[in-house]
């Protein structure tokens, strides 16, 4: 039971990270109708930028951890968002009215560019950082000495996710930008005719998605204490699985799917085999797409001629 509870905590934390990445997939798919294959690599870039900012701040002699965290968060969100914007501008916008497979192929190319760019720029070796946020709470100690722990970093990951989700929901449901985004999602031509700047709205979608991925990258860095240039690929596919599981195009769905994938992966590693945890996640993707293509909260897609 204790073991189960501990895995539940671990799974929820991992799921929060996946959920943050999944939002980027689901938003872009909702508006542009393409799978942003490079989104996993944006997450990786976010992790790298957070790492480098940490290093600089520490070598400058800053010691106040909350200040460091805040600066790192803002810097990595801002720069990663610019990456998202640039990629959309260079690789996706010219292809918006091209044939169906073109944006997907361009996105695959972009994913290669980003992966190899960070390998060339920062080297192939894993980059570790010392743990910043230490300590935690012991929730329960059983008779045989098994301890359920909730570390401070886990609390931080979950709280940040909840806060961001709140801000984000407000953004989409209450602001002008959110309304434009929803309008573009339904009908780009009509939205353009009614004075919505479609190009700008799509750009902003990529910017927001990339910023959230940067937060996920920072969380990953703090939680696991390392980044490497190849982490975006698997994390990206899993987050995409989460987006599909939750129903692509649906924001609460992406978060729900992320949590589900995080829990499944953690429990699979805990009770079955660690080696096959990725196989489990990928199999879920296939099974979901076959039996439940609209996901948990998605709307059925109407095929138009």
């Amino acid at each position: 039971m204790d073991y189960f509870a501990q895995q539940l905590i671990n799974g929820l934390v991992l799921g929060s990270i996946y959920g943050l990445i999944a939002i980027g997939y689901t938003m872009v798919y909702g508006i542009v109708g393409m799978i942003n294959f490079a989104h996993g690599d944006i997450f990786m870039i976010g992790g790298f930028i957070a790492l480098i900012t940490f290093l600089i701040l520490i070598s400058l002699g800053l010691t106040a951890i909350p200040v460091i965290l805040l600066v790192v968060l803002l810097v990595s969100m801002a720069i990663t968002a610019l990456y998202g914007w640039t990629i959309e501008r260079i690789a996706y916008r010219p292809l918006r009215h091209s044939f169906r497979l073109a944006p997907m192929l361009s996105a695959i190319g972009m994913s290669f560019v980003l992966t190899n760019y960070s390998q060339v720029a920062q080297g192939a070796r894993v980059k570790p950082i010392p743990p910043f946020i230490i300590g935690g709470y012991t929730l329960h100690e059983s008779a045989d000495g098994f301890v359920i722990q909730l570390s401070n970093i886990q609390i931080m990951v979950v709280l940040t996710t909840i806060a961001l989700l709140g801000i984000f929901t407000w953004l989409v449901s209450r602001t002008r930008l959110g309304r434009d985004m929803r309008a573009c999602e339904q009908d780009q031509t009509m939205a353009a005719l009614l004075g919505v700047d479609v190009d700008r709205t799509i750009s902003m979608t990529f910017v927001i998605g990339a910023a959230l991925a940067a937060v996920a990258g920072l969380m990953y860095l703090l939680y696991y204490g390392l980044v490497d240039f190849f982490m975006g690929f698997v994390a990206g596919i899993k987050a995409f699985t989460a987006a599909v599981l939750g129903g692509i195009g649906s924001l609460p769905g992406a978060m729900l799917g992320g949590l589900a994938i995080g829990l499944i992966e953690t429990f699979w590693s805990a009770y079955f085999s660690v080696e096959y945890k990725d196989v489990a996640a990928f199999s879920i993707l296939i099974v979901v797409l076959i039996f439940m293509p609209t996901g948990l909260l998605g709307r059925p897609e109407v095929e138009k001629v």
């Binding site: 690789a91 570790p128 353009a192 990928f282 001629v305």
Partner: protein, 441 residues
């Protein structure tokens, strides 16, 4: 869709130098922010596990300067060429001339390929490279059935390559079966896996299908890595038997081919044999594809690529049609895999990564989906290009990715060729299928 982009390009054409400099400056500024931390700072883990960093502001400055200059050049080019419908870049007269040449390129290329072992008999390096190119030509032609003809985006093609390679490797090392028995088996097994994957997932739309095939490819690779008792895990399978000339080994023994023919033994014989083997396999793939294109099933594939909804309306069973395309493509992948295993003598999961799938896909896309000659030329250009830049190992995938993006922007229907459906109405349609998104005509 809207008229806005057109107007802005008009405005740009009249704009002068201040506009040019402003654009370049903004681009350089963006580049500065983008690259400031990733290029300007280099991190590395020291021997004690502590991260250290040093600055590289020189590199950063040169990259920003390159972006500044590059955006001026691009902007100037854009003003000279003007707004282009990228695909109409080549005028029709040149296009017809190219198709005239194209008629003679294929036979000439084939004759040259047949003569390669004669011309380069002493140059082992060139022969090895030619075998590699032909392997990718075969993979490209195999994938072409799926992507080029049927229009199904398959990102996990390497899975079938792996199935073929491991089928041959395991059957040959465990049971001692000969290559010629295992080759059809490898193809059948790969086709079987293709059906197994295809049957449930082929109802999915393009993008979803792509992701599922990608997941499938990764699953196969992960299973190969982790099922150590069968596949040897990350260590791979070694000691895979070399191919024989229909039972006669190509070695220096008394029953070797050289001894039987009464000629002096040379290790090049085996290389030349491998060359003709893969050439035969590739040509088989090509021939089968061309023949299939004339059959109702091939016509159905092309129709499916152009418009799936119309296909269903005409009573074509889309599931079976897609499934046959998938299985056919997978079978050729399996053949190529078996050949790869016998050529290398050693296989490991490292040869079957997603990168490999993307490379084959890029060959098909670059060649102009569906064009057989285009795919062959693209494989030559791609593998040859990789070989030329072998010294720049780390940059080559970076350039590869950039090339993929640029090709999609400039020539989304392929750099070399573009195959129109085999049959079409001779009366001009109101709009060509080129101008609309598939399924949205």
């Amino acid at each position: 869709m809207t008229a806005i982009p057109h107007e802005t390009t008009k405005a740009r054409r009249t704009a002068g130098i201040p506009f040019l400099l402003k654009t370049a400056f903004i681009n350089a500024l963006i580049a500065l922010v983008l690259f400031s931390l990733m290029i300007g700072i280099r991190t590395e883990a020291g021997s004690d596990g502590q991260l250290t960093y040093w600055t590289r502001f020189g590199d950063l400055a040169s990259i920003v300067a390159a972006v500044f200059g590059g955006s001026i050049v691009i902007e100037l080019l854009r003003q000279w060429i003007g707004p282009t419908g990228a695909e109409k870049l080549v005028p029709p007269s040149v296009q017809s001339g190219m198709s005239f040449i194209g008629r003679y390129v294929a036979p000439a290329l084939l004759i040259f390929t047949l003569l390669v072992p004669v011309i380069f008999y002493d140059q082992r390096y060139i022969l090895d490279l030619a075998i590699l190119v032909l392997t990718y030509v075969m993979l490209g032609w195999g994938l072409n059935v799926v992507v080029g003809l049927a229009g199904l985006l398959d990102l996990g093609y390497v899975a079938f390559y792996a199935v073929g390679a491991y089928s041959y490797a395991l059957l040959a090392t465990n049971f001692g079966w000969s290559f010629w028995v295992c080759l059809p088996l490898a193809g059948i097994l790969a086709a079987f896996w293709g059906m197994l994957l295809g049957f449930p997932v082929l109802r999915l739309r393009g993008d979803y299908l792509a992701i599922v095939t990608l997941a499938f490819g990764e699953i196969i690779r992960l299973v190969i890595i982790n099922w150590q008792s069968l596949t040897g895990g990350p260590n791979g399978v070694s000691g895979i038997p070399r191919p024989t000339f229909f039972g006669i080994p190509l070695d220096n023994s008394d029953d070797g081919l050289a001894a039987k023919l009464g000629i002096e033994y040379s290790p090049t014989h085996r290389i030349v044999f491998l060359f003709y083997l893969i050439l035969a396999l590739a040509l088989l793939t090509n021939w089968v594809t061309i023949r299939l294109r004339r059959l109702p099933i091939g016509r159905a594939w092309e129709a499916l690529r152009e418009d799936e909804v119309a296909c269903r309306a005409l009573g074509i069973n889309t599931t079976t049609t897609k499934l046959t395309a998938f299985a056919t493509g997978a079978m050729f992948g399996g053949f190529a895999g078996a050949f790869f295993a016998t050529r290398q003598g050693f296989i490991s999961p490292e040869s079957f990564t997603f990168q490999e799938s993307a490379l084959v896909l890029a060959i098909v896309v670059l060649g102009g989906m569906g064009s057989q000659l285009g795919v062959a030329l693209a494989a030559l250009a791609m593998i040859g290009g990789f070989e030329l830049f072998r010294s720049l190992e780390t940059y080559r995938m970076l350039v590869f990715g950039m090339a993929m993006v640029l090709i999609m922007i400039w020539r989304p229907r392929g750099l070399i060729g573009h195959r129109a459906p085999t049959v079409y109405l001779t009366k001009a349609n109101a709009i060509s299928s080129d101008l609309v998104k598939e399924g949205h005509g």
